[in-house]
Symmetry: C2
Subunit: 248 residues, 2 copies
DNA sequence: CGCGAACTTGATATTTGTCAACTAAGGTGG
DNA sequence: CCACCTTAGTTGACAAATATCAAGTTCGCG
């Protein structure tokens, strides 16, 4: 079983075999989204809910003068816009950097879930609240850390989030973003990103080449970044001994 | 009627007289919280949900070395921790700066609401999602704006949020925070806050003296801050012609 | 193999931080 | 009502982080 949604939600609630089957069924029809394409643009009233199953998408706000702030990375297993329906219009956009594969889920299907599958509903709640916690962690990151630790912190977060959906291989993971994207994420310049990255590589904290990030010493990076995964609220699962620091 | 919760939720959903009565009943027993006091500290599993009815509280994360990032201002009508129960432990704290008055609401009361009052439930959903949108707006603020516009943007936001709960008087509102608090909110130094504030005063954009912010020319401040209140998702209400720019 | 996108570099400017001292304001006890 | 005391706000000199601009260089892909 390599369905990232099921893998992830298992960390938020205890799901039964039936729950898993329902979720599996939900994520059958995938669709490819090209690079630099909006999945859900600002101003729209989305008809479907979007789920990432492969690749990265990001939540971003475009300012009038071309500046852009990325507010979330959406990785496999993440919903892009589970609840915007209640608010009406999107007040920001969801788009891709290098492209990804998603599933379009009609709102009615979500409503059916919340009406008939309490454990799944609870897991979706959990996922929403974890997203909000992640947003808060990003705010702390931007407000309180220098660029080097910001990058380190972000990488630690991705390491955990991708590990739970099975996308971390030994000490590395795919990271299909540009330095410009990272700059727009951290609120700094891509020139500065570049320099800090070289510095981090020099310190042996992380390497990032050809869309793959490698972390030679995870414990050291975590210490450097002052990273504490508590905000991701991962339920400890039985027969899961490698949550954070073990090998895959 | 001056119940801030009812005033606010009216902007998120259409409430009936009965709904209002239920909410009024919910907010009867208030409690005073002293200044610099935690309402809900990190690590706790809160038994009650907390609602601010007077004064300001703030959501913040304390780092190990004494730094602190404020992640939200909680003003009258705002819930502090409506949904944390699902996550278990608080991963941040809620505390006061100058003290405020709150209501403790047992979780069972909220559960009763969601089971029996669909319009209120929807309004609570709305409030939660607006909180998240506000968080995103703060991230954009920190990432993309210099300190002067950051402060201006924050003031514009407060102007709107406080106006809907009836706490804006002409061109001013009470703002019971210190420059240190503002610094921890924007991720800058209180020295810098002080200097930027003087500059803003010099430009005639805003004044802040003895816990009260005054805005001589709202339209000018909005333009300066590039403020767009869309992210607050206020439903337009009939007989409400003064949403943003009018006088009270 | 060539082309465009992404990345890298250097020189310099701007914003923001640090430190340390000082002033002003508000509250409390004598 | 004043003296005191604490907290908040202000200032100056200087340092560090980050931005800007403009010109390369490398990389990945067709």
């Amino acid at each position: 079983m390599s369905n990232p949604l099921i893998m992830k939600l298992g960390y938020g609630a205890r799901l039964t075999g039936d729950d898993r089957a329902v979720l599996q069924d939900l994520t059958r029809r995938t669709r490819r989204v090209a690079r630099r394409t909006d999945i859900s643009p600002e101003g729209e009233r989305p008809e479907n809910v979007h789920l990432v199953v492969e690749g990265f998408a990001c939540r971003y706000k475009a300012l009038t003068d071309g500046r852009r702030q990325i507010m979330a990375f959406l990785v496999p297993g993440d919903f892009c816009d589970l609840h915007v329906a209640i608010l009406g219009e999107m007040d920001h956009s969801i788009g891709t950097s290098w492209g990804c594969t998603i599933v379009d889920i009609p709102r009615s299907a979500i409503e059916h879930l919340t009406a008939h599958h309490p454990r799944i509903t609870r897991a979706l709640w959990w996922a929403t609240l974890v997203d909000e916690g992640t947003l808060r962690a990003w705010l702390v990151n931007m407000g309180q850390r220098d660029a080097d630790r910001q990058i380190a912190h972000l990488v630690c977060e991705l390491l955990v989030r991708l590990r739970i959906v099975g996308l971390v291989d030994e000490d590395s993971f795919e990271f299909p973003m540009t330095q410009d994207d990272l700059a727009d994420t951290l609120g700094i310049t891509s020139v500065h990103v570049n320099r800090v990255l070289q510095d981090l590589r020099g310190q042996g904290l992380l390497e990032w080449r050809s869309k793959r990030v490698r972390i030679p010493d995870v414990a050291r990076l975590i210490a450097f970044a002052e990273f504490d995964p508590k905000y991701l609220h991962l339920r400890r699962r039985e027969n899961d001994e490698r949550r954070l620091s073990g090998t895959s």
